[in-house]
């Protein structure tokens, strides 16, 4: 048994590309082994540092035996040239070719004898193609070469069974050597196996295995925070990025001047995380501290690295502090007028126009939410002013949050400040959801205004393109409503938003926007339900009768049925419905149409009467529940008709000779189905 060991040495490949390249290489090499029926240790790994992409697989046989096989050639009627080509490509002679009939006709065949193949030969032949198959999300060319790679590829080391594999990948010849000094790209050294390679680099402090690097970084951080009584935020994405931009991680704890802690913490955290890839720390009460972690790629023996990073953060935080001090006192209300100069979107006016519309809309929503109209109007008016601040110029990702801090500093109502701060939330499926009604109202009006606007100027997303992230906007809208359990007439709000646009002179086709946006939002609800692992047939059913005004109902009913579908109340409900609807469907095919009105005067027996009575009881239940429906209770009530239905089918023949009686019995069944529609249309549920 042998090992395959490949190292691709390049200039620094960004973290995300590295992760992707590891996965791609892993997948491609696995497919190669499987396709060629070569055994291998399936628990193999691909490792990477910024400069090295390393593949290691062991337990590979050095030889594989290929069984003899009959290779089909051209049809016997094909031109002679085809046969000649077949003979040539199989390196054989005419004598060894024979004819054989198959289902598709008579063909020439050639019998390839069983033979042994060296795995190293196969690898040498195929490795170049395996590497070519790696797809990069973002790749480049360099010098005069035609190769695309994440960053310039410098050398390839390839070993099988302790011997070098020789192949050419574009302009690069593989060998058994690599550069041991990644910085200056020198120190060529021969390696014949993976272990000595790993050992050599470990002695230099270089950890090839990313998981090991992660563990070491995390351990070191934990050691320090435990000693200092600190916490860090669990930020997997940042940690994973850090792990992949170092090869010999050294964790250094640094600090900045405490005076900066007077600046809103979000600004400090963003500066540290996104701009510098530092890890901020918090005390036990979750307050940001002035300690932060730098993960260096070098041991800081002379203290230069700590000093340098502390100076960098000092300069950056000074900048942020300067802007904060300057911006926080600029009166928000007095600046509203200046929003006239800031374009919201081409064709949708300025931000001033937008907040006028949002004010109307949020004011209407405030009636439903029973919140103060004055407060939500103030929040709408000032919510976009922060876009003109230096701080948002510097930290665009903090829009809203920064505005909330300005509002707080200037003494605005607490709920107004929070609403401004949370106006962009949620931003997609995973993001934090605002809970306070003022925040929800402001976020709803912002999103509705945008959605109506984009649909109004016909910038709807297509199946492949969504440059303005409109889908995310709509999904966020769905989340705002269903997760906060808001009962709201979305249709009316859309119409009202259209009229707010029309008041400003926009020529919007209200009906068209309403229809298209309706479909679009319902689609997002379906996606949302899918994410919540609701069965597809239930999703389809939920939106069959329930529309835009009933997002919450559709959501809750789906959830309830999904939960109960294997239990008696769900199972029986569907069985009863299906039994009735199946008969109706067959009859409809021979064009007996029913309206769902049975005539009790035509009933011939008690079974019909009992079923009729039970249906009416259930109808009364649905009429009485109003807004506070307990969906599980509804399912229970529906399934309780089981006995009456079974008795009916066991004792009554629907297909009575008397057409009028038959029709009446069908009407009764239709009545039952329509009654079930009160929950939702079960016809799409697969039993």
């Amino acid at each position: 048994m042998s090992e395959l060991f490949v190292e691709l040495f390049s200039e620094e490949i960004p973290a995300k590309l590295q992760i992707n390249a590891r996965n791609e290489l892993k997948k491609n090499i696995k497919n190669f082994f499987i396709d060629n029926q070569i055994k291998f240790n399936e628990n193999f790994n691909v490792y990477s540092t910024p400069n090295r992409l390393v593949l290691h697989i062991d337990k590979i046989p050095t030889e594989i035996k290929l069984n003899s096989e009959e290779i089909r050639g051209p049809n016997v009627n094909a031109p002679e040239k085809a046969l000649e080509g077949f003979i040539r490509s199989n390196n054989t002679t005419l004598e060894k070719i024979f004819k054989k009939s198959t289902e598709k006709g008579e063909f020439y065949f050639f019998k390839k004898e069983s033979r042994k193949i060296k795995v190293s030969d196969l690898l040498e032949k195929n490795l170049s193609e395996i590497l070519t198959k790696i797809t990069w999300n973002n790749s480049m060319k360099w010098a005069n070469y035609d190769l695309y790679w994440g960053r310039p590829l410098k050398s390839i080391l390839a070993i099988f069974n302790k011997k070098p594999l020789n192949f050419i990948f574009n302009h690069i010849n593989s060998s058994n050597k690599t550069f041991t000094d990644k910085s200056l790209e020198e120190g060529l050294k021969i390696f014949n196996d993976f272990n000595s390679y790993i050992k050599f680099f470990k002695q230099k402090g270089v950890l090839i295995d990313q998981d090991l690097r992660k563990k070491i970084i995390q351990n070191k951080i934990n050691e320090i925070i435990n000693k200092k009584n600190l916490k860090i935020e669990q930020n997997e994405r940042l940690i994973d990025e850090i792990v992949n931009i170092v090869e010999k991680p050294a964790v250094i704890i640094c600090d900045f001047d405490k005076k900066f802690l007077n600046v809103p913490s979000e600004i400090l955290i963003t500066t540290m995380q996104s701009h510098q890839k530092y890890l901020p720390t918090f005390d036990k009460k979750n307050n940001l501290t002035n300690n932060f972690f730098v993960v260096s790629d070098i041991k800081d023996t002379k203290g230069f690295v700590k000093l340098g990073n502390e100076r960098v953060i000092e300069a950056r935080l000074s900048d942020a502090e300067f802007f904060w001090e300057k911006n926080k006192t600029q009166n928000l209300v007095k600046q509203v007028d200046k929003l006239k100069n800031i374009n919201y979107f081409k064709g949708l006016g300025s931000y001033f126009d937008k907040i006028q519309r949002m004010r109307k809309l949020s004011s209407l929503i405030s009636d439903d939410f029973l919140i103060s109209k004055d407060k939500i109007e103030i929040a709408s008016s000032i919510c976009k002013v922060d876009l003109m601040s230096d701080l948002v110029g510097e930290f665009p990702e903090l829009q809203g949050i920064v505005g909330g801090h300005f509002a707080k500093f200037q003494g605005f109502d607490k709920e107004v400040c929070l609403a401004v701060s949370e106006q962009y939330l949620p931003n997609g499926m995973e993001s934090k959801l605002p809970k306070k009604m003022y925040s929800v109202a402001l976020s709803l009006s912002d999103k509705l205004d945008s959605l109506v606007g984009f649909f109004g100027i016909n910038l709807k997303p297509t199946s492949s393109k969504d440059p303005y992230a409109i889908r995310r906007m709509a999904i966020s809208l769905v989340r705002l409503i269903v997760e906060n359990e808001i009962k709201i007439k979305l249709k009316d709000l859309i119409v009202y938003t259209c009229s707010a646009y029309r008041d400003q002179g926009y020529d919007f086709d209200t009906k068209k926007i309403q229809n298209e946006l309706s479909d679009f939002i319902i689609e997002r609800l379906k996606n949302y339900l899918k994410e919540k692992k609701i069965r597809q047939d239930i999703i389809e059913s939920s939106t069959f009768l329930l529309g835009l005004d009933d997002l919450l109902k559709a959501y809750k009913k789906s959830l309830c049925l999904n939960k109960n579908i294997k239990k008696e109340i769900g199972f029986e409900t569907i069985a009863v419905y299906k039994r009735s609807s199946n008969i109706l469907n067959t009859e409809e095919k021979i064009s007996i149409e029913t309206l769902g009105f049975a005539d009790p005067g035509l009933f011939k027996n008690d079974y019909e009467k009992k079923l009729y009575k039970k249906i009416n009881d259930i109808r009364k239940y649905f009429l009485s529940i109003g807004k506070d429906e307990n969906y599980e209770e509804s399912l229970k009530i529906l399934s309780s008709i089981k006995n009456e239905v079974n008795d009916f089918f066991d004792n009554v023949i629907v297909h009575d000779e008397d057409k009028i009686i038959k029709k009446n019995r069908l009407e009764l069944l239709n009545m039952l189905c329509k009654t079930f529609d009160n929950y939702f249309n079960f016809s799409k549920i697969e039993a």
Partner: protein, 289 residues
């Protein structure tokens, strides 16, 4: 902070050392281009010379103007006029990383003592119709260099690919000299500071860029320059055409700083400049083959 070199390396010595270093690597040491530009990349020795098949190596200092970054000389890190040291080599040499790290040693930054990091940074210049992949280079957390493999310039795919190295001289010197404010940088061995030379101009140009530039005139000048560029492109004289285009670009930058260009207009102006650059690039390439 800095090892090996005992006395503090002055701003001008930093430039001399880099020039000497890259001169030894075979680069043509040029002088700054004599027009207002936003970055060293705009020098025709980079934009135009990176196009076409002919090999080319150059290095030069380029004063760069970014009107919107002016802070009246009040901010220790921001300037509307600063210096870049630019290197451009076509095709990109195999040992370019080694060369770069050695160039840092020549100004006293030893990569074995500092955390030198190549951090992903995909570069794009909408006005130049240019894009590239590479890194910003961090030294102990401070960005000191942009390192880019040009993939596209003036809307044309680069073949062969050039590598561009742009050192931010002020940042680099602040690091080397251990200064918190750019204005405290030592310019020469006589102790002349950056403040002595540039503070007044930062203040006055900020006032010009933000308050006094005559926008009506500038809008007109933009139109005139744009027309002139198009005319020169028709005459197929790319270098004078490019000069007019650079002037356009600077006029646009001042208008932008004056805050008289809306977001929508902004995109439109950028697109207009890009169209000019592209047409010039085309004429230039034709002249190269």
């Amino acid at each position: 902070m800095v090892s090996k070199i005992k006395k503090t390396l002055s701003f001008q010595d930093t430039i001399f050392n880099l020039q000497k270093f890259w001169s030894k690597k075979g680069c043509v040491i040029l002088q700054p281009y004599d027009l207002e530009v936003g970055a060293g990349t705009f020098h025709p020795a980079t934009t135009l010379r990176s196009l076409g098949p002919k090999p080319w190596k150059t290095a030069y200092v380029q004063p760069s103007r970014r009107p919107t970054d002016g802070r009246y000389g009040d901010n220790p890190n921001r300037l509307q006029h600063y210096y870049q040291f630019q290197v451009l080599i076509k095709p990109s040499p195999k040992e370019i990383k080694k060369m770069y790290l050695n160039s840092l040693s020549s100004i006293g930054i030893n990569h074995e003592e500092h955390d030198i990091r190549f951090v992903e940074d995909d570069w794009e210049s909408p006005t130049l119709g240019a894009a590239g992949l590479g890194w910003e280079v961090w030294c102990d957390g401070m960005e000191v260099t942009q390192f880019t493999y040009f993939q596209q310039m003036a809307g044309v795919e680069c073949k062969p690919v050039s590598v561009e190295i742009t050192y931010g001289l002020e940042r680099l010197c602040m690091f080397i000299q251990n200064k918190k404010s750019v204005f405290d940088l030592i310019w020469n061995d006589e102790g002349i500071t950056y403040k002595d030379i540039f503070h007044k101009s930062e203040k006055e140009f900020s006032a010009y860029n933000f308050e006094y530039a005559n926008t009506d005139n500038l809008f007109k000048i933009f139109e005139m320059l744009e027309g002139e560029t198009k005319l020169l492109v028709e005459k197929k004289i790319s270098l004078p055409a490019y000069d007019q285009c650079l002037k356009c670009s600077h006029v646009f930058n001042i208008l932008d700083a004056r805050g008289v260009i809306s977001v929508a207009q902004r995109a439109e102006y950028i697109a207009r400049i890009r169209e000019l650059t592209k047409s010039i690039g085309k004429v230039w390439i034709e002249s190269q083959s």
